[in-house]
C-alpha cells in the first residue's frame, strides 16, 4: 500500500496545524487561533459563495480548534450544508463535525435529520453507513424519535449490504441504550436473532452486541439466541486457526466474536436442552484444553486473544455455578496465572478468582492458593494488582483462615497505599467481626487497626467495636484493659481516644482494682489527651468524666474541678460549655441514687447488620470514590432506608439534649435511627423520670435545664399522655382529605423524608423516624409567598376505628408564618395495634384574608413499624409454610409502573422496613423479605415475596406480590400499599 497518497490534501489545514504546533506558548496559540477564527468567520460571512472544498476545509479547521479544547460557536450551518454535498469527503467532514459538536439547536436538528433521511434512502451503501455512523455517534433522543422505526427495517432487509447491516445493528444498539422506549423490536425479534447465523462474520460480530443488550432487558423474547450462539461458538472453537481467514487474529479464530458469544450466554441460565448443553460444555472444555497447549506464536497478541476467550469462558462457568468439574478446572487454570510473568494475567487471575471464591464448589480450591495471594499482596509492585490480591484474600476468608488473613492484611496496612487504606480498614473490620471466635481477638484487631491506620478508620468502625463490647459482657474487662494500655502510647490516634473514653467511662471499674489503672490514673490518662482532641471528642470525654463520677466517687472533686475550670465552663463552644455546666450541676445536686440511674451502664444495642458492611457495599458501588462522596451516599441511603439522617435537625436536637449521655447518641446515630429516637426507649425514659424527680427537689435545677427538658420532653419514650399542652387532636368532625392525598401517601410508603405536599402557597416537608412501635414526625410548613399566613392551625385526627389503633399527639404550631418562613411541628405516634387507615392532617390558615383549608393523609403506614428480621433460607420457608391459612396470605398481580431496576427495587424494599433476604429464593430474580410489625398489643410477623416478570406474555412488565403474615388485615394492607410502589 502506498504511503499516504490518499490525503485529500487540505493544504491550508496542514499549514494551520503546523502553525499551531510551532506556537511557543499558550498565548501564541490562542492568538493564532483567534486569527484563524476571524478569517473563517469572514469567509463564511463574505459575499462570495464558498465552494465545497473551502467549506470543508474551514469546517475541518473549526473541528480541529474545538478538539484542541477551545469553544466553537459558529460553523454549524456550514457543516450541515456539507451533509447534502454529493462529494463523499465533504459529506464525511460534515458528519464528523456534527458528531463531535452536536448542538441541541432544534432548527439545526431538523436539518440534520433531513440530510440523514436522504442519505438513508439513497441506497448508496457508503452514504447510508455515514448516516448511520452519525446517528450512532450522536445517539440523541431526537434522532431516536426520527429513526428508531426505520433502522430495524434496514437491519433485516434482504437486500441490505453487509456493511450497512453492521452499522445498522450498532446504531440501533446505541439508540436502545439512550431511548429504550423508542426502540421496539417486536416483529423483527426473530430475524434479528437469526443474524447470529449470518454467513458474514462481521455482521454476526456487530449484531451480537445488539442481541446481548436486548437479551439482558428482555431475556424471554430473545431466548432462542442461546442455541444459535452455542452452535456458532462450537463452530469457531473447533475451527482450525486458518479457517476463518481474516477473522483469525494471531492464530486465534475470531476472538472478538467468541468473547461476545460467551458474554451473550451469560445473560441466560444453563441451556435446558441436553444436546445444547452438552455441546456448550464441550466448547468450554476445549477452551480450557487449549489454554494448556503450547502457544502458536510468541506474540503477546496471540496469548492475549486466547486468554481473553479463556477468561470469558471462566466467567460463564462461574455464572452457571453448576459444573463442579469445570469450576475446579477454571480455578486451577487461574492458579497457574497467579504466578505468570505477565502482570496483566496475574491481575486478571486475582480478579476472576474473587468470584470463584464465592462458589461453594470452588471455594476450597481457591483457598489452596492463599500463600501465593499473600505473597502477591506483599511483593507486587503495582498497586492495582495488590488491590486485587487484597480483594481476593477478603473473598476467600472463612473461619479456618481468618486469623492468618486478618494478620496479613493488618501488616500490609502499615505500608499500604493511601488510595486503598480506607477500604482495607473496612475489610479488616468486617472480617474480624464476622469470624471472631473469641472477642478479645476482635478487640485486639480493631485497636490495632486504629493504631496502624487511625486516619482511615471511619466512624462506623469504632462505633461498631463499642456496640460489640457493650453487648458482650465477657469481653468488657479485656477491652478496658487493652484500651487502657493502648492509651499509654504518647501519640495515639484520636479515634483511640474516643474508643478509650467511651469504654473506660462504661467499664473502667473493671480494671480499677489494679493500682496501675486506678480511677485517678485512668482519668489522668484520658485527660492528658483532652487538649489535643477535636470538639466532638472532647464532648465525648466530658461524658466519660461524668460517668467516672458515678463509677468512682473518689474522682468527683478532681473532675468537678476540671469541669469548673474556665476552659470548660466558659468554653466558646456551646456544646462543650453546656455539657460542662450541666454535668457540673448534675454531679453537685443529684443524689448518688439519681446519679447511678442517670449514668447507668448503656443497655445492649439491638442486633443489626453491621453498618460497616453497608459502608463497604456503598464503597464498592458505582461512583463511590472519595470519602466525601461516600458520606453523601450514606446520607442518601439513610433517607431511603427509613430514617437515619444524622445531619440537620435531629442532630441539633441531640446536641442540645445534653441530658442523654451523648456518646450513646453518637453511637446510635449510625443507620437505623437518629440519635434521639435511638436512645429513647431505655436511657431516655429513665432520664425523663429522673428529671421530674429532680424538679421536686430543686426548682432551680429544673429551671436551669428548661431548654434541655423541653427537648428531652420530645423523646419518644415520653408517655403519650403527659404532654403539657392540651392534646389538639380532639376534633369533632373528620374533614375530607384532598383527592390526591392517597397518591401523596403512597410516595412515602418506602421513604420517610421528603416533600409531602406543595401548592402555590404552601410547602409541607416531612421527616420521620420510627422505632419499635413508636414514631415521630417532623412537619415543616413553609410559606412560599411573601405575605404572612395568620391563624395558622393544624389538627391531626384519627378517623373511625383508627382512634383505637394509633395514639397520635401533636404539638401546637405557631399561629403566624411570615412570608418565606418555615415553622416546624412535631407529631408523636404510638402504634397500639395494626391499622389500615392513615391519620388526617387538617391545615387552616388565612392568606390575604382568604381562608385556606386543606386536609392531607399523614403518611403513617403499618410498614413503618417493621423491625427487619434476618433469617436463613431454611427458616424462611419453614415460616412461610406455617402461615399457610388462606386468609393469612394476600396476593396481587400488577403491572410495573416503573422500570424494573434491581437496585431501585432493593432500595424500595429496604425502605419498606423489612429485611431483604439474599440467597433465599431459588430464583435470583425474586425478592423475599421478612419483618415483624411492632405494636403495643402484639407483634405481627410478616413475610413477603416479590416476583418480577420482565417479559410476561402480554408484553408488559408484571409483578406478583405475595404477603403472608400472622394477621389477615396486615397481609391485606401491606399488599395494597406495596402494589402501588413498583
Amino acid at each position: 500500500m502506498p504511503a499516504v497518497s490518499k490525503g485529500d490534501g487540505m493544504r491550508g489545514l496542514a499549514v494551520f496545524i503546523s502553525d499551531i504546533r510551532n506556537c511557543k506558548s499558550k498565548e501564541a496559540e490562542i492568538k493564532r487561533i483567534n486569527k484563524e477564527l476571524a478569517n473563517i468567520r469572514s469567509k463564511f460571512k463574505g459575499d462570495k459563495a464558498l465552494d465545497g472544498y473551502s467549506k470543508k476545509k474551514y469546517v475541518c479547521k473549526l473541528l480541529f480548534i474545538f478538539l484542541l479544547g477551545h469553544d466553537i460557536d459558529f460553523g454549524h450551518m456550514e457543516a450541515v450544508n456539507l451533509l447534502s454535498s454529493n462529494k463523499y469527503t465533504e459529506k464525511q467532514i460534515g458528519y464528523l463535525f456534527i458528531s463531535v459538536l452536536v448542538n441541541s439547536n432544534s432548527e439545526l436538528i431538523r436539518l440534520i435529520n433531513n440530510a440523514i433521511k436522504n442519505d438513508l434512502s439513497s441506497r448508496n451503501p457508503t452514504f447510508m453507513c455515514l448516516a448511520l455512523h452519525c446517528i450512532a455517534n450522536v445517539g440523541s433522543r431526537e434522532m431516536a424519535e426520527a429513526f428508531a422505526g426505520e433502522i430495524p427495517r434496514i437491519l433485516v432487509a434482504g437486500d441490505t449490504m453487509d456493511s450497512v447491516k453492521q452499522s445498522a445493528a450498532l446504531c440501533l444498539l446505541r439508540l436502545y441504550k439512550t431511548s429504550p422506549d423508542l426502540v421496539l423490536m417486536g416483529e423483527w425479534t426473530s430475524r434479528v436473532v437469526h443474524l447470529l447465523n449470518d454467513q458474514h462474520m462481521g455482521v454476526v460480530t456487530a449484531a451480537i452486541s445488539l442481541i446481548t443488550c436486548l437479551s439482558q432487558k428482555n431475556p424471554d423474547e430473545f431466548k432462542t439466541c442461546v442455541s444459535l450462539a452455542v452452535s456458532r461458538l462450537s463452530r469457531i472453537v473447533s475451527s482450525a486457526s486458518t479457517d476463518l481467514q481474516d477473522y483469525t487474529y494471531y492464530f486465534v479464530p475470531a476472538p472478538w466474536l467468541s468473547c461476545k458469544l460467551l458474554r451473550l450466554l451469560q445473560c441466560y441460565p444453563p441451556p435446558e436442552d441436553g444436546a445444547v448443553k452438552g455441546r456448550l460444555v464441550e466448547c468450554l472444555e476445549t477452551i480450557l484444553n487449549k489454554a494448556q497447549e503450547p502457544p502458536k506464536s510468541k506474540k503477546v497478541q496471540h496469548s492475549n486473544a486466547k486468554n481473553a476467550i479463556l477468561f470469558e469462558a471462566i466467567s460463564l462457568i462461574i455464572h452457571y455455578d453448576s459444573e463442579p468439574n469445570l469450576l475446579v478446572r477454571a480455578c486451577n487454570q487461574l492458579g497457574q496465572f497467579l504466578q505468570h510473568r505477565e502482570t496483566n494475567l496475574r491481575y486478571l487471575a486475582l480478579e476472576s478468582m474473587c468470584t470463584l471464591a464465592s462458589s461453594e464448589f470452588s471455594h476450597e480450591a481457591v483457598k489452596t492458593h492463599i500463600e501465593t495471594v499473600i505473597n502477591a499482596l506483599k511483593t507486587e509492585r503495582d498497586v492495582s494488582v495488590r488491590q486485587r490480591a487484597a480483594d481476593l484474600l477478603y473473598a476467600m476468608c472463612d473461619r479456618s483462615n481468618a486469623k492468618q488473613i486478618v494478620a496479613e492484611m493488618l501488616s500490609y496496612l502499615e505500608t499500604a497505599d493511601y488510595s486503598i487504606r480506607e477500604e482495607m480498614v473496612l475489610k479488616v473490620a468486617i472480617l474480624a467481626e464476622k469470624y471472631a471466635v473469641d472477642y478479645s481477638w476482635y478487640v485486639d484487631t480493631i485497636l490495632n487497626l486504629i493504631r496502624i491506620a487511625g486516619d482511615y478508620v471511619s466512624e462506623e468502625v469504632w462505633y461498631r467495636v463499642i456496640q460489640i463490647v457493650i453487648n458482650r459482657d465477657d469481653v468488657q474487662g479485656y477491652a478496658a484493659k487493652t484500651v487502657f494500655e493502648a492509651l499509654q502510647a504518647p501519640a495515639c490516634h484520636e479515634n483511640m481516644v474516643k474508643v478509650g473514653g467511651y469504654i473506660l467511662g462504661e467499664f473502667g471499674n473493671l480494671i480499677a482494682g489494679d493500682p496501675r489503672s486506678s480511677p485517678l490514673v485512668q482519668f489522668n490518662l484520658l485527660h492528658s489527651k483532652f487538649h489535643l482532641c477535636s470538639v466532638p471528642t472532647r464532648a465525648l470525654l466530658l461524658s466519660a468524666y461524668i460517668k467516672f463520677i458515678n463509677l468512682f466517687p473518689e474522682t468527683k472533686s478532681t473532675i468537678q474541678e476540671v469541669l469548673r475550670s474556665d476552659s470548660q465552663i466558659r468554653n466558646s463552644d456551646v456544646e462543650l460549655q453546656q455539657r460542662a455546666v450541666e454535668y457540673l450541676k448534675l454531679s453537685s445536686i443529684a443524689s448518688t441514687d439519681v446519679l447511678a440511674t442517670v449514668l447507668e451502664e448503656m443497655p445492649p444495642f439491638p442486633e443489626r447488620e453491621s453498618s460497616i458492611l453497608a459502608k463497604l457495599k456503598k464503597k464498592k458501588g458505582p461512583g463511590a470514590v472519595s470519602v466525601n462522596e461516600l458520606e453523601e451516599g450514606k446520607r442518601e441511603g439513610g433517607e431511603l432506608n427509613g430514617g437515619g439522617e444524622r445531619g440537620g435537625d435531629s442532630s441539633a436536637i441531640a446536641a442540645s439534649n445534653a441530658s442523654t449521655p451523648s456518646p450513646s447518641a453518637d453511637l446510635l446515630g449510625l443507620r437505623a435511627g437518629p440519635p434521639v429516637t435511638a436512645a429513647a426507649p431505655s436511657a431516655g425514659s429513665l432520664l425523663v423520670d429522673v428529671f421530674s424527680e429532680a424538679g421536686i427537689n430543686d426548682d432551680g435545677f429544673l429551671r436551669d435545664l428548661e431548654p434541655t427538658t423541653e427537648s428531652s420532653d420530645s423523646l419518644l419514650a415520653e408517655g403519650p399522655g403527659d404532654s403539657d399542652s392540651a392534646p389538639p387532636s380532639v376534633v369533632s368532625e373528620d374533614p375530607t382529605p384532598l383527592p390526591e392525598s392517597d397518591e401523596l401517601l403512597n410516595k412515602f410508603v418506602c421513604k420517610n423524608n421528603g416533600v409531602l405536599f406543595e401548592n402555590q402557597l404552601l410547602q409541607i416537608g416531612i421527616k420521620s423516624e420510627y422505632r419499635q412501635n413508636l414514631g415521630r414526625i417532623y412537619l415543616f410548613y413553609g410559606n412560599k409567598t411573601s405575605v404572612q399566613f395568620v391563624t395558622f392551625t393544624t389538627t391531626v385526627t384519627c378517623p373511625g376505628e383508627l382512634q383505637s389503633q394509633l395514639n397520635v399527639q401533636s404539638k401546637p404550631v405557631e399561629p403566624l408564618i411570615e412570608g418565606g418562613a418555615q415553622v416546624q411541628q412535631v407529631i408523636n405516634i404510638e402504634c397500639l395495634t395494626d391499622f389500615s387507615d392513615a391519620p388526617l392532617l387538617n391545615i387552616k390558615f388565612r392568606y390575604g384574608g382568604a381562608l385556606q383549608n386543606l386536609t392531607l393523609k399523614l403518611p403513617v403506614t403499618i410498614n413503618k413499624f417493621f423491625q427487619p428480621t434476618e433469617m436463613a433460607s431454611h427458616d424462611f420457608f419453614q415460616r412461610w409454610k406455617q402461615l399457610s391459612q388462606p386468609q393469612q396470605e394476600a396476593q396481587k398481580i400488577f403491572k410495573a409502573s416503573h422500570a424494573m431496576d434491581t437496585e431501585v427495587l432493593k432500595a424500595k424494599l429496604l425502605g419498606l422496613g423489612m429485611a431483604l433476604l439474599e440467597n433465599v429464593d431459588p430464583n435470583p430474580e425474586n425478592f423475599v423479605c421478612a419483618g415483624v410489625i411492632q405494636s403495643k398489643a402484639q407483634q405481627v410477623g410478616s413475610l413477603l415475596r416479590l416476583e418480577p416478570n420482565a417479559q410476561a406474555q402480554s408484553g408488559e412488565q408484571m409483578y406478583r406480590l405475595t404477603v403472608r403474615s400472622s394477621k389477615d388485615t396486615v397481609s391485606k394492607r401491606l399488599c395494597e400499599l406495596l402494589a402501588e410502589q413498583f
Binding site: G9, L67, T89
Partner: protein
C-alpha cells in the same frame, strides 16, 4: 466501551471518542484525571486499573497512549487487542504510522475508528474489510497528494512496538 482517548506522553490529547453522553465539562474533567493517572504509571505496571466504577485498559505505543474505559462485565484482554487492532489499522493505512500522522490527519483517524468501532462495540474486526471501506471512500474523493507531510517524518513508529 464508554470512551477511548489517545494522548501523548506530554499529556496532549490526540483523539477522543465518547460513546456515552457527557457534557463538555465532564469530558474535560475525565480526560484531565485519566491522563494524569495513566501517565503516572510505570512501564511494567499492568494495563488495567479500576477508575470510578469503570475499568481502564491502556497501552502505550511509541509516544502515544491508547486508553479505553470499559464497563464492569467487559473483557479487559479483548479490549487490549481492540487497541492493538486499531493501531494496526492506522499503521496499514498511513504506512508506519506515527503520532504526526494522527495530528495532521486527525479526521482520518476518526473515520477509521468509526469503521472499526461503532457505539463502543466492534463493528468489523477484519482488517481487510475495514481498510476496504476506507479505501472505497478515498477513491470517491479527488486525489490531491499531500506531498509535504512525509517531511515531518522521523518520529518513532508505533509499529516498532509490535513484538
Amino acid at each position: 466501551m464508554q470512551f477511548m482517548l489517545l494522548f501523548s506522553r506530554q499529556g496532549k490529547l490526540r483523539l477522543q471518542k465518547w460513546y456515552v453522553p457527557l457534557s463538555d465539562k465532564e469530558k474535560k474533567k475525565i480526560t484531565r484525571e485519566l491522563v494524569q493517572t495513566v501517565l503516572a504509571r510505570k512501564p511494567k505496571m499492568c494495563s488495567f486499573l479500576e477508575w470510578r466504577d469503570l475499568k481502564i485498559v491502556y497501552k502505550r505505543y511509541a509516544s502515544l497512549y491508547f486508553c479505553c474505559a470499559i464497563e464492569d462485565q467487559d473483557n479487559e484482554l479483548i479490549t487490549l487487542e481492540i487497541i492493538h487492532r486499531y493501531v494496526e489499522l492506522l499503521d496499514k493505512y498511513f504506512g508506519s504510522v506515527c503520532e504526526l500522522d494522527i495530528i495532521f490527519n486527525f479526521e482520518k483517524a476518526y473515520f477509521i475508528l468509526d469503521e472499526f468501532l461503532l457505539g463502543g462495540e466492534a463493528q468489523e474486526t477484519s482488517k481487510k474489510n475495514v481498510l476496504k471501506a476506507i479505501e472505497q471512500a478515498d477513491l470517491l474523493q479527488e486525489v490531491r497528494r499531500l506531498c509535504f507531510l512525509k517531511a515531518f517524518r522521523g518520529q518513532k513508529h508505533f509499529a516498532e512496538q509490535y513484538s
